[in-house]
């Protein structure tokens, strides 16, 4: 049974997520984006060895971590052209890494944002940017620690598909996409309620 929610229903997932292997070597920790003043956020990124050792399936639609794409894109041009490659970004990755690699995001059929922990709310800002600043029109998917109670926020932040964590009931989670009918504030999906409706007529 698929765990993927799209268009308010469970759909089959025809994408395969490519995950770099864990190697015995030291964990590389990531500096926090453009803020070099902060030392370590303790967030893991992939080592060169991991990227080199990543096994990329020869056929089918695949979701590649951005650093893997950047390092190995030379051999993947035709597959990209065939619409077989989606890109996965981590919440600690600076959005510029993505937009520098793809000045027009719409060449991608799919962008996935990896939520490491459900309490990590950076995915909301990232979704918002991808939709409103970089005008991405194709599928924006939340993967990782994706749980029912974030869905309403994810939807409003520009996501349109949600891969619910494997141990949870995805079918029941759908209901939470519609927890609120008329939210107050504007978001990627709508303007503020007072611009949406004539509140003085209510």
């Amino acid at each position: 049974m698929s765990q993927l929610i799209k268009h308010n229903t469970i759909v089959a997932d025809d994408w395969t997520r490519v995950i770099p292997p864990t190697l015995g070597d030291e964990v590389v920790r990531k500096q926090a984006g453009k803020i070099v003043l902060f030392k370590l956020h303790g967030e893991e990124t992939f080592s060169q060895a991991q990227i080199d050792a990543t096994d990329i399936p020869a056929t089918g639609k695949i979701i590649l971590p951005l650093p893997v794409w950047i390092a190995r894109k030379a051999t993947l041009g035709t597959r990209m052209a065939a619409g077989e490659i989606g890109i996965l970004v981590a919440t600690h990755e600076p959005i510029e890494h993505l937009t520098e690699a793809f000045p027009d995001l719409n060449v991608l059929p799919l962008i996935a944002v990896f939520v490491e922990r459900f309490a990590d709310g950076r995915n909301f800002t990232i979704g918002n940017w991808i939709r409103t600043r970089y005008h991405f029109k194709n599928e924006l998917r939340a993967v990782g620690d994706v749980l029912r109670d974030q869905l309403f926020f994810l939807k409003r932040s520009g996501y349109d598909s949600y891969l619910i964590r494997a141990d949870r009931n995805a079918q029941e989670a759908i209901a939470s996409l519609n927890d609120f009918k008329q939210p107050y504030q504007g978001a990627t999906d709508d303007v503020p309620v007072w611009r949406r409706l004539n509140r003085s007529q209510l």
């Binding site: 926090a32 956020h41 990590d120 309403f152």
Partner: protein, 554 residues
Amino acid sequence: MYKYDAIDQTIVDERVAQYRDQTRRYLAGELSDDEFRPLRLQNGLYIQRHAPMLRIAVPYGMLASKQMRKLADITKKYDRGYGHFSTRQNLQINWPKLEEVPEILAELATVEMHAIQTSGNCIRNITTDQFVGIAPDEVVDPRAIAEIMRQWSTFHPEFALLPRKFKIAVSGTKEDRAVVQMHDIGLEFFKDSANELRIKVWVGGGLGRTPILGTVIEESLPWQHVLSYCEAIIRVYNIHGRRDNSYKARIKILVKALGIEEFKKQVEAEWSHLKNGSLTITEAELNRVAQHFDQMPYETLPVHDSSFDAAVASNPAFAAWVKRCVHAHKQTGYRAVTLSLKPHGKPPGDITTEQMHVVADLADAYSFGELRASHEQNLILADVKLSDLFAVWEKARAAGLATPNIGLLTDIICCPGGDFCSLANAKSIPIAEAIQMQFDNLDYLHDIGELELNISGCMNACGHHHVGHIGILGVDKDSEEWYQVSIGGKQGNDASLGSVIGRSFAADEMPSVIQKLIEVYVQQRTPEERFIDTVRRLGLAPFKAHVYGEKEAA
């Protein structure tokens, strides 16, 4: 009082349904403790030492009498017959059952109340001055904008899971009573030379482990842009704030690490995309929201009332209360009244079910049915006629709500501390009670004059100890409860953070330590000096010397 329309009501009703289902899933084992935690916290539910604690939102401190009655009923039905007003103008109840919280929320929703975002890593209840709308020194009544901000921040999808809690305060007076410099964002409203409404924006203030006063990031922001500007600030914070260490996760740490120049640069870059978009508030929207607040039907009254003047002249107890608990009002013939929730020897900020009913009745009879909660943990009747003050006093006194100690040493700000809070290093309430008993002589108390004493049970500083003229902090030494004392903190426009006087004390030493600090002040003060002024003039040394005496020299 802001009155809900159908949109507001639907949102709180939907919230009750949502939270009811979340609780059901938790109790059914479908949500782990870790997963349920942010959900219940965003609804004000903590798991405390003895039981859960539920924090009910009182947006910018405003309460209607019918809401107070509902709160009274809730404390009776679901709790132990009392509630506690916190330093964030919210009401906390200490003994609800986790399974009953959805019911409590459903009851609150019937009187346009909720517990949304009273905790958790999200935008919290927006606070303001308790004298908003009536203070003679008010330049702008910021309530309509505060309400617009409340709506904007409620279930804000982008800021639902920030690195840490986020507190916003608004102030529209010359004398800042909303402590804007102590907040993640502080908004100080003013009129510029062209009489346009502007906002001075402070960012990165906060107490806790690393107390810092805010820095001005924008001197003069046109009010129409307040949402887009705040959104730009919080967006930069959401992306770059630390998430690896909760003690370093507040925006103040980010602002400090980047420096205000760099932080501002990033905010401005973000803002350039948001400015003039759909977040811009229009004049029409501001007016629409302002109309949801009642205009008070003030009577035209004379400046003086002879019965009031006579009562003050003949009744010293009434006169003492008037001096401490009655405040100026911009409407002629009206006064604001503080009902003290600090009777000596009782937990500061606590109020019983019966007192809640008395307060609601007083509001109906004498103050247009409205009440306010202050961050000093007292209640306010904002619009009382001079001629009614005596009657208000008699009724308040009979209910134990007229201790004439507002602004004095025993008007202690105190967090729940070790009696309730599982984060505490030490108890705070018994310390407050012991100090109140030490200074129970009212003449002496009035002679000491204005003094703010704040107590927190741990570094989280819910009792705002850093900005107390005297601050007390519970610390843990080899699993025993000790207390660190600081002096020289202050809230307001000339805010400052207190300095620790030296080694900490055991609980039973505390009343005498405070006594000694007061002795130095009484001995050294000039006629017009308050405690804080004497501390600022003399520094720590004489206080230290007297408190520690020879013990330290030896």
